[in-house]
Symmetry: D2
């Protein structure tokens, strides 16, 4: 039996010794670090002699084998309990002393996600099939749409489907219902898989993280019809961008993007067809990175550890 793993993701003001401090914490517990990566946002030294990373932020991801959590060594350190809760409490203490923000996930507790769609099935099918194949460590708890079109897809895979039609008048009401659904299903990530509605700031403030797929190479083609814009401008590549949704439309931190070569013989429809292939892959990669707890947001940028 392979033991479960815990993945810690943390961000702190940079200072010397952070790698040693955080790695040392698990070393002393006798827990093996299976994978770790870190990145410090370097700021150029303002004054002579100032340390290079002064003022930057430090980000670290640690994957820890929990097999030895019940060992005497861990018990001695954690006190009278070697539960995950005790581990989190001890780590939290260390983090607090270093002003670090952090989160943790466990390999045997897959997070629940919600997929929001409208009428296009391409990204939806792709996410469902990847989840079934074990590529996305999560459970697709429910699918929500403003149209009933894709209900049969959800049914085929026995995933709960909810229709919440939206008009200008009902938008806020429906968003409240949406929030209630997300809470009831303990959703920790919302994926907009070609959901053709703009979400309000109020919704985004209350919702779990939201990942959107934009069918264009941002920031090049913002707005609703990027393939038509791309065609008019005669670009030689079309792309797709997955980003966290923020109140500024198409301006959220970019998680992943990619492009594919096109040529003058392709009209907007053909661009759209080849673009869909990129969209699916880019969205799946972004969702996977998020679920694997690799993505840190720093201002308008992301760092994918």
């Amino acid at each position: 039996m392979t033991s479960a793993t815990a993945t810690f993701l943390l961000s702190a003001p940079d200072q010397p010794g952070l790698v040693a401090r955080f790695a040392g914490f698990f070393f002393e517990l006798g827990l093996n670090i299976i994978d770790s990566s870190n990145h410090a946002t370097v700021r150029q030294p303002a004054a002579k002699g100032e340390s290079l990373s002064h003022g930057g932020r430090f980000h670290m991801r640690l994957v820890v084998d929990l097999g030895a959590l019940a060992s005497p060594q861990a018990l001695a350190r954690l006190g009278d309990s070697t539960s995950r809760r005790a581990l989190e409490a001890a780590f939290g203490e260390l983090a607090e002393g270093l002003a670090a923000k952090w989160s943790v996930g466990y390999s045997d507790v897959p997070p629940k996600i919600a997929i929001l769609v409208t009428r296009e099935s391409s990204c939806l099918y792709d996410l469902i099939l990847r989840q079934k194949q074990g590529e996305l460590p999560c459970e697709i708890a429910l699918i929500i749409s403003n149209h009933p079109t894709l209900e049969s897809v959800a049914e085929g895979f026995r995933i709960p489907f909810f229709t919440l039609p939206v008009t200008a008048d009902t938008k806020r009401d429906q968003e409240e219902k949406l929030l209630a659904l997300l809470r009831r299903h303990h959703v920790s990530l919302v994926v907009l898989a070609r959901y053709m509605q703009v979400l309000t700031d109020a919704f985004l403030a209350d919702a779990p993280p939201v990942i959107n797929i934009h069918h264009g190479f941002l920031p090049a083609f913002q707005g609703a019809r990027p393939y038509f814009q791309a065609f008019d401008r005669g670009v030689k590549l079309v792309g797709a961008t997955a980003h966290y949704a923020t109140k500024d439309l198409d301006e959220g931190p970019i998680i992943e993007q990619d492009v594919v070569r096109v040529n003058h013989g392709m009209g907007p429809e053909e661009l759209s067809r080849v673009g869909r292939d990129v969209e699916r892959v880019v969205l799946a990669r972004a969702v996977r990175s998020h679920l694997e707890r690799r993505v840190v947001v720093e201002g308008r940028r992301t760092i994918v550890l």
Copy 2:
């Protein structure tokens, strides 16, 4: 001895039979078509029964073996001369009847180009070395710069180098000198290989075609510091775009573009470094396509046959 080839590039209002008409012209002369490609800009039919390509434009590129130009068959058709001038006259007549614009180039008469630079040597070296290796069918007639920095590079390859420093006051005067230089050297293409000056509309109106390399994936990052913009926005790919210079800065028809993957660990300088690799390749491909007479401009787009 391989005989010379002629490359014809033409554009005409689309109508049925154009491929047959133009191909037939050379067939009747007994000249072999080595390579041909064509593209019609399709407009959707406005009314029932209307032909699909009605109202579009037709573009064709033909490479013809001139070996049989002195044959009796060609002589019979062209009249008392089988010179290139006679061939052009006959083709011009056909083209006129079909309202076609056209141009022709000969493999044994390489066109002369001018390269404009400022201080960065990367693209300049690349173009010179490719030309020496036979990748760019042209002669680099001269290099012009607003700074003396790269004079030694030109000297090393024995290419004439002219310095035309530009200030706000002298811009138009220097552009006049520039135009005079281009005319004196019979330049038919100007390549801006990181030339850090904006050319005036007046200059562009009088100059031969001008190809510019923009160190960003247009239309995403216009303006002067695309790598800093790319870093701030946290993009996952950086790119470069080669386009014809027009009076709207960074808005000219795109000839070629490409991208390369980057990550969060790269600062603006590192982005700039990997970006230079893309810039060079993209600029070289665009210049080559132009020299091979493959590029047709249609509005804001190009068609690369």
Copy 3:
């Protein structure tokens, strides 16, 4: 109403005037050529003065608008009938005179294909979903497998599914049943979407064209476990190759291939996961090119017009 189109694909010994001859055929009928492309396999001239393309082969693809097939002009040329049969007869006569092999397909008569699978669903889902979205101009007539695993997928989309288990003893018998199924359903293309059985020469000799997806960048990693080979060799890219099946395993003419970047952190399973994304796209592109009648086989190579 948009009228139907016919797509002609032909190959002939090269000679001057072929473009003009074939294009002229449709011009004289008053049929508009919507799209055309051609390629001559150039052989270097052996002797001075010999024409460049002497001895090569000429390949051409023509897409023709059939809207004017009932016009008086076409009637006058084709004789007393303007049926597709009459068109084919007239074209066949021209082709015969030029020793050309050719085939034709019609946009309103989608060809029927069979998909062969074993247990992996990734490519199968992808082909079905693309066909439903209109990306693949065909009808998926049936799915055949040596295992019952994927029957539910077929059922979900209401596509007939047949299980033909194969052992060393039953192979030829089962292949005979397979051939019978293909004939009964008028299948003109077989797609091996991760079908884990080697087909015999006898089968391939009697079957319609067969496209296979190899999950490796051929000719690099032949055989059964390319991702393990790729991992052992520490390659930095993994790829996939779609090719026509021939009696030499993994040696058939390549139609399409692509790669994706990988790194040292990925084990064979992870390589397999990212490889699946390439496989699906590569197979779909190859099937589409074949269905659009763009692929010519010349010896061990393909030309994709």
Copy 4:
């Protein structure tokens, strides 16, 4: 003034706590870790409960700011000296206890490299120009060729050039001279930039590390004429591979590789032309990774940290 940095690269049998141990070493000296990355070669657990990484190897790269090496804290730890030699001695002690192999380089002591060429200038120019632009942290100490063709290139950049013609009879003698040249110039890396001679095992055993560029996507096209092989096989992508030279030709550990899309219209020469663009970039990336001390060899694979 920015202080110098030291880059440590190490490999050890994996065990819990290594990240903490090595990072802790520098923490206790008060030296800031600017960049670090590590990778453990995971072996699947053979028995229930066995730790995941048991039996694998651990690789780590650490970049350390030497600014604080003269501080009282470092002095207290290192004894009576805070020289680089003292730092290396202390680190060596730690490494020995963990059975680690390691090496270190300093940002202000660029290593010397030798470039071996024959007649093709493309890769040579590329490496020289990148070094001049600061992309390759090294000094090009000398260029050696078996032909005098490229001497003028070396002269143009004032780099010492040596001609060592090779015949079957003189090979071993010339290799001895080559080794002597490398030693005299304190060369720590040899780059084969299209050097058209096979080096003997004896030479490789005595020489510093040797990086070779193979103009094909290994392991697909081994041997001398990969572009001709690629053409004959009709591949849709051509590539290049940079690898360490070993006694098995074209079988050494791969450092970097890349591909570019090609089509049926390209003959072997055209494939060669587009291939050169990939070769240069791939070779430069590999050399840079080596110089930045990122490359670990493990059996037939490399890990690029």
